[in-house]
């Protein structure tokens, strides 16, 4: 039981139960446990960095029968990002929820969400993925419904039903795999998998389910309503983490496990969907009337970029170029996680202070909430892909990979997406710079601003200037990619 992987999953679960039992001190428990979990996730990264991919078989049952936890560079780095976002958001949530009733309902669900995310990232077999996916979906839906208004409830029901459909289809795919290979363990599966109809149909089903969950265009329709109507910290976690872990499964399957099954046509298809998501999401974000809706659509677009990487990675020869592209994908996912959560948190601040988040009425925000405006700008920088954010480097590599693999058609997509991203970001800032005093009294260094600032700085400065380490980390310790 001294493996950090176990603790990373167990601690939030434990905390969730404790808060359920002891709601008065829930925030202290939540804060304490998330910080400790963060520390453990860092230990895990350290282990992966030094010792390569880690495996832990629960109760020493060997894989195939027992449950194995796995961590390679991809999952470890996502895990750390998730825990950082989660911890920061926890601090934020502590300041955000003033209603006692809501607080009591919030903490157990919130910690359960963390449990689900961590467990999913560390899962080593298909069925565990399914279970954690469901757990994730359920806690996310419950958190969305915390808003207690009609729109939020409707959105959460929709989120739930579509999510259920997705996971059922995923499960059907899992069933097929078990039929064909008799195993669910990812590592073993990767060795045995062959390009045969069974595997192909199974992958199709699983992908179809995950596409819904990760809101890839045109299956994104449920996302904006759900993300926009949830309370701010929940939106942050949903946008930054929940959709991203579904995407993580897709990446695992497409790039690692089923790579022999993937055909150029299928990679191209998913890339085209990603490109459409980039354009459509950005365009909708530009037209959005509310700040949170804008952020939600922006998530749709940003996820699109990640999907564009799939045809590029599969199109590149194995070796350094491919590793580079893969790492860029991870970098982009991480940056987006930080930036989007920061954006949602600051949108929450705006909503709290101004009583609304209508973009057209934001005039005066830059004066009343200078730091929040600054955070919005920082996260906007990361969303557009401007330096010094990590996404700048990621986009650079994305473009480079397009050129290397002679798939030049992604270039105009990326360019258009960036321009649209700039347009929607600066549309918000333009209004915020306008004269007026709608945002109420001046707030400087508010308690809820610090976590958001931290996250935004992670997205822009830390990942931008310190990305060199990530390259070593990913390319040396990835379980499958050239590892």
């Amino acid at each position: 039981m001294n493996n950090p992987m176990v603790w990373v999953i167990m601690l939030p679960l434990l905390a969730s139960l404790i808060t359920l039992a002891w709601p008065r001190r829930a925030h202290w428990i939540g804060l304490l446990f998330s910080v400790i979990t963060l520390a453990f996730s860092m230990v895990l990264v350290y282990q992966v960095f030094n010792g390569g991919p880690q495996t832990h078989e629960l109760g020493n049952w060997n894989a195939g029968l027992g449950i194995a936890l796995r961590a390679d560079a991809l999952s470890a780095s996502l895990l750390v990002m998730a825990m950082l976002v989660f911890t920061a958001t926890t601090f934020y949530a502590d300041a955000y929820f003033s209603d006692v009733n809501k607080r009591m309902r919030f903490w157990p669900l919130w910690l359960m969400l963390s449990t689900a995310i961590n467990a999913l990232l560390l899962s080593g077999d298909l069925f565990n993925l399914y279970v954690t996916l469901e757990l994730l979906g359920l806690s996310a839906v419950a958190l969305t419904a915390l808003s207690d208004n009609r729109a939020a409830l409707q959105a959460s029901i929709r989120y739930l039903s579509i999510g259920l459909l997705g996971s059922l289809v995923f499960l059907a795919g899992v069933a097929l795999i078990y039929t064909g290979y008799g195993i669910l363990d990812l590592e073993l599966l990767a060795q045995r998998i062959q390009a045969e109809p069974l595997a192909q149909v199974a992958l199709t089903l699983m992908s179809a389910g995950l596409i819904i969950k990760s809101a890839l265009f045109p299956m994104h329709f449920w996302l904006p309503a759900a993300h926009a109507s949830a309370p701010a910290p929940v939106s942050a976690a949903l946008s930054a983490l929940v959709v991203k872990v579904s995407l993580y499964i897709i990446l695992r399957l497409w790039i690692d496990v089923f790579d022999v099954v993937i055909t150029p046509a299928s990679a191209l298809l998913i890339g085209i969907l990603g490109a459409a998501a980039v354009i459509w999401g950005s365009w909708q974000a530009l037209r959005a009337e509310r700040l949170k809706l804008l952020a939600a659509y922006s998530t749709v677009a940003q996820l699109g970029y990640l999907f564009i990487f799939i045809p590029l990675i599969t199109g590149l020869p194995e070796g350094q170029l491919r590793e580079t592209a893969f790492t860029a994908l991870v970098l982009l996912a991480l940056t987006h996680g930080f930036a989007k959560s920061a954006l949602f948190l600051s949108a929450g601040v705006v909503q709290h202070r101004a009583g609304h988040d209508r973009i057209a009425d934001l005039a005066g925000t830059s004066r009343a909430l200078p730091l929040t405006t600054f955070i919005i700008a920082l996260s906007g920088v990361a969303l557009i892909g401007l330096p010094p954010s990590g996404s700048f480097i990621a986009k650079w590599q994305l473009l480079a990979a397009s050129i290397h693999s002679a798939q030049w058609w992604w270039i105009p997509v990326v360019a258009t997406g960036s321009i649209l991203a700039a347009a929607y970001t600066f549309r918000v800032l333009g209004h915020a710079f306008g004269p007026g005093d709608s945002a109420g009294k001046v707030l400087n260094w508010g308690r809820e601003e610090i976590p958001a600032l931290t996250l935004a700085l992670f997205a822009t400065v830390v990942l931008g200037l310190g990305s060199a380490g990530l390259w070593d980390f990913i390319s040396n310790n990835s379980q499958f990619i050239g590892g």
Binding site: G137, L138, L153, S161, L168, A175
Partner: protein
């Protein structure tokens, strides 16, 4: 000759398809939730079919375990959906 296993599996697929169709078509929340349950039943049926290893051998325990877990998940999800629906209804009634 269709083996029993295949028959069950096909049945499962059929149930899944019916549920899927209903999920997509019905606008009523309750009907949709029910349809999703039907879908789930289809998938579980497939698992059960998989577990079958002939009359001589005992069935594969793993799919059974999976189905049990799946049912737990499905039930809890359904419970939550109903709770949400209830809440929404309260709001609508106000």
């Amino acid at each position: 000759m269709i083996s029993e296993q295949l028959l069950f599996a096909l049945c499962g697929i059929g149930i899944f398809s019916i549920g899927l169709r209903a999920t997509l078509i019905h606008q009523q929340l309750l009907s949709r939730l029910l349809a999703l349950n039907v879908c789930g039943a289809g998938v579980f049926l497939i698992f059960i079919a998989i577990a079958y290893r002939g009359e001589t051998q005992i069935a594969d325990p793993v799919p059974h375990a999976l189905v049990l877990t799946g049912i737990v998940v499905a039930v809890s999800a359904m419970a939550m959906a109903l709770a949400l629906r209830h809440k929404l209804k309260d709001l609508n009634d106000e």
